[in-house]
């Protein structure tokens, strides 16, 4: 274990090379619905229990299944209405269990990025070889069912090892959602030395963090989203920012929570200088236009401070 994950350098949020998003947009806005499969009775990982209670964890399992049975289609209809294409954080096993959901996303030209195989199979304790196998399995499964290799990664249940980012970069990925250190994309060190970046994904805007962890009231969640947007939109005039709303349709798509979410989407998409994008589109654009300038700027600022 080491005191710093050594994935990125300190890079102050001022005087960075200016980012301008396509068509002069100030903010890149993306929505990342998590489409997940939680197993009722998975093999137990010695480092983290899948469920807080003994099998069968009826309540915790069944509310997550609600997202698949009831929730996703609600959010799809809502995102369609506001011209937003989702970037799916996908438990690859959903391709096997529920191909209808995958088809509904494909019909909408949504992006899929890897979120492991199941959200009840954690990275903890895996050898590097085992983790590589799991990541490649997810990449291959997604490619087989959607025709495209995933460009992004969010580790299953946000469970990581020291190798996670390297392994995903070696599997052909270009961005990670696992880091929460910035409101703009930024370079990430990988041992293969290829351009690889972090895209802001936001735990603070994550509906499960808001609802299940922080126990926020639905209308306050809607207000938090608007406030988050206002600030990033304002700052985006100086240099383009990224705002993400990560969602889980067993949370945000419950009947009592959709109104506040819809109001927030309506508010955001009602602004002129918003680039409604997917994770891959943001990553591609950033790597093409800003990666080198950013990497140089980081080097320079590191030099100044040392």
């Amino acid at each position: 274990m080491q005191e710093d994950p050594n994935l990125y350098d300190y890079w102050p949020y001022q005087n960075r090379p200016k980012i301008v998003w396509p068509n002069g947009a100030k903010i890149a806005f993306w929505v990342a619905p998590n489409i997940e499969f939680y197993e009722l009775n998975p093999p137990e990982n010695p480092h983290r229990k899948p469920w807080p209670q003994a099998y069968p964890a009826v309540g915790d399992y069944s509310i997550r299944d609600y997202g698949n049975r009831v929730g996703h289609i609600r959010q799809m209809q809502l995102l369609d209405k506001y011209g937003i294409r989702g970037s799916i954080s996908l438990s690859a096993a959903v391709c096997d269990h529920h191909p209808e959901i995958i088809n509904l996303c494909c019909e909408r030209d949504w992006e899929f990025f890897s979120h492991g195989i199941y959200n009840t199979r954690y990275t903890y304790g895996l050898s590097e070889e085992q983790e590589r196998e799991m990541i490649l399995d997810s990449v291959d499964t997604i490619e087989k069912h959607t025709g495209k290799k995933p460009a992004g990664y969010l580790a299953p249940a946000l469970s990581h090892s020291e190798h996670t980012i390297d392994l995903f970069a070696e599997a052909g990925g270009i961005y990670t959602c696992d880091l929460f250190h910035d409101d703009q994309p930024s370079p990430v060190h990988v041992r293969s030395s290829k351009p690889f970046i972090s895209i802001p994904y936001s735990l603070e805007m994550n509906d499960t963090i808001a609802y299940a962890v922080n126990k926020v009231e639905p209308r306050r969640y809607g207000q938090m989203i608007k406030d988050n947007f206002d600030q990033l939109y304002k700052e985006g005039a100086e240099s383009g920012t990224v705002m993400c709303i990560p969602t889980h349709n067993y949370q945000v798509s419950c009947p009592h929570r959709l109104r506040a979410f819809e109001e927030a989407l309506e508010y955001i998409t009602g602004h002129a200088d918003v680039w409604i994008a997917t994770g891959r589109e943001i990553a591609d654009h950033y790597i093409k236009h800003y990666y080198d300038a950013s990497a140089n700027d980081i080097q320079q600022k590191m030099g100044v401070t040392t």
Partner: protein
């Protein structure tokens, strides 16, 4: 460092669910139904009538809402009992005022101990469902099947005898089940149960003793979840239910009939500072022209006859 091989093996990774309890099905692909008289939204108000023993054993876990202090925990015992003495009578007035048909899901031990309250419910003629023996008689993973069978049999036999009703509905205390609970419920004549929260409409559950219907009793919209677990305000409770009502009514226009299921506790919403918010909710929902208030059994019967 590595994990056992089985951690990267996925024996259930194929089409459908990872168990054989129910079929995989997306709500929007199902046949659309309409409730009686063209109504769009069935209102199921499920009142939990509970007995929390003060000599709580807490095995294998302390029931949420139960005793937390060293014995005798008078504060929690009496605060829960408040619901059965005071809160419930505020509920009944409100139901009558707004023309709402409630369903009472009752711990059998409460029916045994409190014949006055049971008689009040019986006289009203409302449906009584079983909420297990009492709040400390839990069903849980690893429970001995013989013990659980006996617990379910006794809970149902006694409640059926005292209530004079068939008692075909079930909600487990703390919604906690063993792997055998659905089988044992079906074996003892239960037609619907409400522990699983994976749908907004009824669906068929497979058991060793035939079919059981899972009725959608939202936990996310439950008074205890919103007010006690999440510490949201009373006004927010009312807002959330009204927003859910509006959403489901809108969805029913293209998706077919829906159910607004409100699980409520008289020890929670029956408090003086909360009852007006609950009344506000009942007023709002019952004033919608497309809402049909009915018992859980009636909703299920209509659902089965129309789907």
């Amino acid at each position: 460092m590595s994990l056992e091989r089985d951690f990267l093996e996925y024996s259930q990774r194929s089409r459908g669910m990872d168990h054989d309890r129910y079929d995989w099905s997306m709500l929007h692909n199902r046949r659309k139904i309409t409730w009686p008289n063209g109504k769009k939204l069935a209102l199921w108000v499920n009142v939990c009538l509970q007995f929390f023993p003060i000599n709580q054993r807490g095995k294998p876990f302390k029931v949420p809402g139960g005793m937390t202090m060293p014995y005798p925990d008078l504060r929690h015992y009496s605060l829960r009992d408040y619901g059965n003495r005071v809160g419930i009578f505020r509920f009944l007035k409100a139901f009558d005022k707004y023309g709402v048909t409630p369903t009472f899901t009752m711990n059998t031990r409460l029916a045994e101990r409190n014949s006055y309250l049971l008689d009040v419910i019986k006289e009203r003629g409302d449906e009584i469902a079983c909420h297990g023996m009492h709040m400390d008689a839990l069903h849980f993973g690893g429970q001995n099947i013989g013990d659980e069978r006996e617990l379910i049999k006794r809970s149902l036999d006694v409640l059926r005898n005292l209530s004079g009703q068939d008692v075909t509905g079930w909600l487990s205390p703390a919604r906690s089940e063993s792997e055998n609970t659905p089988d044992l419920l079906a074996e003892h004549g239960i037609k619907y149960f409400s522990d699983w929260v994976n749908d907004d409409m009824p669906y068929e559950f497979t058991t060793k003793h035939g079919c059981l219907t899972a009725m959608p009793l939202s936990n996310e919209l439950e008074d205890k979840f919103i007010l006690m677990d999440n510490l949201h305000s009373e006004q927010s409770y009312a807002d959330q239910i009204c927003d859910a009502c509006d959403f489901l009514l809108t969805e029913s226009e293209h998706g077919g009939g829906r159910i607004l299921a409100l699980n409520v506790h008289p020890w929670m919403l029956g408090q003086p500072h909360r009852i007006a918010k609950f009344e506000q909710v009942l007023d709002y929902v019952s004033s919608k022209k497309s809402v049909w208030s009915a018992s859980a059994s009636d909703i299920l019967a209509e659902f089965k006859s129309r789907s």
